[in-house]
Symmetry: C2
Subunit: 252 residues, 2 copies
């Protein structure tokens, strides 16, 4: 029991803000299982900006979580243009795309220098079948990935560009908060062009939207450094507070 809690402490420290923490530390875990899990995870492989974890068409054989840095996942439409499927901050799972066909539909590219943990899928499945609770936790993490996709779709159906941009910044702040970073002051790891493709806008529109937010005193942006000056107003704008309904009606 003592050994177990030591291992637990080590795991916690090394994967402090890792989404796989939920995978690694469910109830009813014993020392042997812990050892198995520890061996499963290849830790902190450094990945340099521009490097890819996997490419489109590759068989998927692992899932990935960054412990530092940031990634984007990009797919290519039939017309040949790139489509930004998502951004991935430390602790957010990557590599589940193509779980349906067994082949990656996206490529994951590091936006800045990063560290990644890699978990071979086959071994993960094997261990999941043996560990009570781990299977459930795996489903849960996948579900969170589904949630993120729904949030993305939720961004894209907003018709006003400024609403999408505000919601994007708001959501990014929330995600930074979740990993212990300042939700009101952070450096964007992605370019305006990446943001634009993620939001389904022209990059000039993104730039103008940020400028507008700055003029209105909601944020302060110098290049990629963003400071959210008025979080409440940002949230209001993000949730369609401007443009139609009289401020706060319906819920809240």
């Amino acid at each position: 029991m003592n050994a177990v809690s030591l291992d637990l402490a080590r795991l916690r420290r090394s994967c402090a803000h890792c989404s796989l923490r939920q995978l690694c530390l469910p109830g009813g875990i014993d020392a042997g299982a812990l050892a198995q899990l520890e061996q499963l995870v290849r830790r902190t492989r450094p990945v340099r900006r521009g490097e890819r974890l996997y490419r489109i068409g590759e068989r998927l054989n692992a899932v990935y979580v960054a412990s530092a840095g940031a990634f984007k996942t990009v797919s290519v439409s039939e017309s040949g243009e790139e489509q930004l499927q998502g951004f991935h901050l430390p602790g957010e799972l990557m590599g589940l795309d193509g779980l349906g066909e067994g082949v990656h539909r996206c490529e994951a590219e590091a936006l800045v220098d990063a560290n990644v943990c890699e978990v071979p899928l086959e071994q993960l499945s094997t261990v999941a079948l043996q560990l009570p609770g781990l299977h459930q936790q795996l489903l849960r993490v996948i579900g969170q990935s589904l949630d993120r996709d729904h949030d993305h779709a939720g961004l894209l159906v907003r018709r006003q560009a400024n609403e999408r941009i505000a919601l994007f910044l708001h959501g990014l702040g929330e995600r930074y908060a979740r990993i212990g970073e300042d939700p009101y002051r952070f450096r964007l790891p992605m370019s305006r062009e990446d943001i634009a493709r993620y939001l389904g806008l022209a990059l000039e529109t993104v730039s103008r939207g940020l400028t507008r937010l700055q003029e209105d005193g909601v944020i302060s942006a110098r290049g990629r450094l963003v400071e959210i000056a008025d979080p409440k107003e940002l949230a209001r704008l993000a949730h369609g507070g401007d443009g139609g309904e009289p401020a706060q009606r319906g819920r809240l």
Copy 2:
């Protein structure tokens, strides 16, 4: 062995075009397991147009597949407006939303009278842990759900309304083909407003887009009845064939 193949035949007939077929019929299945699976599925509960399979906030305790009819899944944004997350034809899984939190983020409403198969999640998990291969198959079906979400995002990032509409019809045709229906002639189960919210457009824009496609001889639409007169042209329009690049460059 004889009994097994009989059961298999029965299963195939009853769930002929069901996405869960892939769950039910993996390799290495035996008679006992088959019986377990058969008991798992509550079959063909009739659901009338407008009825909901589940609501937002409910604990998720089952997944659903329609054997006939069609559904939409709708979520509500923080600003109170409804967001159309997806359409579900027969054989397409519903109910995975909220796998992350264990609580539904969407509600699933029948667009027309329908029949649904319901599979309790808890029992499914239990059986999945015992059946070699079933766990993998479960992941695969979830992956397909992820793929559909990515396709939806792919629709939404298109900037031109006509492109989204063409791609929507094209994709719908493909999905009808997959369940053995005519991909070039079908009745839309959803209203123009539903389509509009799914595509992130105004319903008038959808109506105009359909009219435009009809004027151009690509489709023939009378109310909800759609006939695709020129599938090749529709595919071209769907993949950005119009608007920029000189017809078919890059791939194809």
